[in-house]
Symmetry: C2
């Protein structure tokens, strides 16, 4: 990594392209996204920081979503992996989400995802990027078609994240048995109802789901 | 930290006491617990590693539980903080557990607990210690009086851990809003039913809790 001490302008002057131009753009974008958040950042601003023409940013990365995904080295394209969720009936949404996630964790993408979670715990900038991955790229697709007021939508989304993150943490980072080694279907039977309640369950929790008494 | 290169015998010869004797015992115990696990380790063995008389270990630390808690610098005594759970009606257990945990996270103990979770992600030895804290000191108290076969008990316990760990992770480490700033009561309304299902809900998940449809 190269960059000036202020961290915001890795290079001066316009660049017309070349092998490291993509890296310059990514470096400038990572800094901007971490410091200011996904919404506040424009591609034009990132181009200026990187010392390149804005058209080059579009040429290399297409949309802001795609630039952001490249920035955080996301091991999958959320639009592709989660795009089918919008077409899923709401009452089956949790199961489909969880199955998609468990399949991802069983794919080669797992290593990169675990690295991302680990590094987010060691660096505020990385934590900011992961928060934005979750809230800007993942949750809107998980909650597609669920028509809630914005604050309720965010609360439901953050609860969903808490259980999925905890599952990743317990299964693949801390490796607590038997959760570390049980099959996907057993996890889905246990955890999908939790996620479904967070997605579509009673709003204020007064009417909480019934549970069977212990034996 | 001092110690020989083999890491198992920090000092040779018997010690009769003194300012650093406790540290020697703790150092030897940390290594044994991380390498062999809570169950396999005896106080006699730790005393031998530390080069002290076993009576001194009892004198300084009392039980193996207490030595282990001191080893991992647990910021609270699980017997004291969770001892009341055994007397809680099973159907209110999740709420009482969650309230106890949220109170702990709002106490000065939070910093030490977050440090423990972070370091467990950066070191296999620390992960082994945290796993043992959870499975040997915390879960038996959370599940006290719940009469399940051992494998089901462990599965329910690990599911409980997954949601609590995920809540800690989302609220205090990654700080995803609004979960990072909502009050305890709101978290209890949403998350206690999840924990209650993991504790006492239907075993194979066929009869999953009802959820209200989305608006």
């Amino acid at each position: 990594m190269t960059g000036d001490s202020n961290g915001l302008r890795p290079r001066r002057g316009r660049r017309s392209g070349g092998t490291d131009t993509k890296d310059l753009i990514l470096e400038a974008a990572r800094i901007r996204f971490a410091q200011e958040g996904f919404d506040a950042v424009s591609l034009r601003q990132i181009a200026r920081d990187a010392g390149v023409d804005a058209a080059l940013v579009h040429h290399y990365f297409g949309s802001k979503d795609e630039l952001f995904a490249a920035c955080v080295a996301l091991p999958m394209d959320p639009a592709k992996v989660l795009g089918h969720l919008a077409g899923t009936p709401v009452e089956q949404r949790a199961e489909v989400i969880l199955r998609t996630i468990l399949d991802l964790w069983d794919s080669p993408a797992r290593t990169a995802m675990l690295a991302m979670v680990r590094s987010a715990l060691n660096s505020d900038a990385q934590a900011a990027l992961l928060r934005q991955v979750l809230t800007r790229l993942i949750l809107p697709r998980a909650l597609a078609g669920l028509d809630y007021p914005e604050d309720e939508r965010e609360l439901r989304g953050s609860l969903l994240v808490s259980q999925v993150l905890g599952l990743l943490h317990a299964r693949h980072l801390l490796r607590i048995e038997p959760l570390a080694s049980v099959g996907s279907e057993q996890i889905i039977r246990w955890v999908a109802p939790t996620l479904q309640r967070y997605l579509t369950g009673d709003v204020d929790g007064q009417n909480s789901p019934s549970t069977s008494p212990a034996a």
